[in-house]
Symmetry: C2
Subunit: 217 residues, 2 copies
Amino acid sequence: MTEPALVHAPTTRVLVADDHQLLRQALRRALEDNGLTVVGEAADGEEAVRLAESLRPDIVVMDVTMPVMGGIEATAIVHEHLPNIRIVVLTMHDEHSLVVQAVDAGASAFLNKDCSLQQVVETVIQVADGEVLLSPEIAANMLGAMTPANGSPLTKREDEILQAIADGSSTTEVARDLFISAKTVKNHLASIYEKLDARDRTQAVLSGVRIGIVQIR
Amino acid sequence: MTEPALVHAPTTRVLVADDHQLLRQALRRALEDNGLTVVGEAADGEEAVRLAESLRPDIVVMDVTMPVMGGIEATAIVHEHLPNIRIVVLTMHDEHSLVVQAVDAGASAFLNKDCSLQQVVETVIQVADGEVLLSPEIAANMLGAMTPANGSPLTKREDEILQAIADGSSTTEVARDLFISAKTVKNHLASIYEKLDARDRTQAVLSGVRIGIVQIR
DNA sequence: CCGCAAATGGGCCGGTCGTCCTATGTTCAC
DNA sequence: GTGAACATAGGACGACCGGCCCATTTGCGG
């Protein structure tokens, strides 16, 4: 993964993936005003993967919350198939656990939407330019004084199960979808109730929404 | 659509209220590039109310989902105290009940974030310029084919019960709190499920949150 | 190496929930 | 004034949920 020469690269090609046209336009303008080329825009994760494949951008600016396929998942897929493409992940929610997930998925940088357009542009340039992979610490720092060091109080599996419940699945359906027994789901739910101080799935889901670990879809 | 006189107005003063700096900047740039003056930015509803009071803008571009105080509430307060200020409401979610709530609160226009920056600018100019108050129909049209014009699809009692469930009460507790029998609560819940196309209280509450008839507390 | 947390799973039981009937009184619009 | 919608309420039943035991495996940190 070394590309020493070819510094002559005329422009950095950027793909913008965000489900909000407003944001896409804003990002496009900001990037283009700073000498970068926006080669495409995607409105969901799947489109982002497709366009990354066909357009071969240098950088993808990827929103986390998108329909059809989330940004994290799209990041993982793009990163696996096209490891040369660097991905800058954008998020609405100050969720520290997302940083970890994003970095795991192969993101090179992580920004939340409370940062400035300029910061986004700078980050993209830095990431395109050099090896400036943002460490989780830097990312966490950028997110400002966030909650000390939690993210989700739940484990990955618990997050997954709670989200599935929020998405409308019953205990049995979650079990089927995750290829585990219903009993295991109930066990996880019990842990979730304890950790979120909820007494049933309804309150647990609402707690999850409140603290930003559950997406309303 | 005629705007003959008062063309002398030097600039239209706009206040941008959105919790995402990215969006605020994007809107500021788009507005300023089109000859409008952005006199301030607010990151939450309370700040929006405060700044509207002190800066006296002509227009407030107000996001719905903001911390501390929501955009709808802020719209209502600003509209009551300063009826001359016209408010353009922006939202992420295509929820038609929000249109009604926004219009009730005194909004002059309603846009979702999937519209273009240009559309936002045009709307602001139109609203500032003339009497171009967007009717619910126009707003509805913008949001796509939506249901006629209601607020909540539920009755008052049903709203009340769903909110109580969201607040953490069980069927029996709701019954006790409302001085009715548990059976009646179950009956209302059954109606709620049918109307919201939910199969249990969890989904019903989430639907309620989605369409803005349930407050997360 | 040992412990601990996470993920998996089983059984049991009481209580709640969701659904199916039916029924009565009130209110409001047509 | 007659029906439609709303709010009230009961019974019965099966399914699901939440709490309480418990066990095994895996992986990570001290």
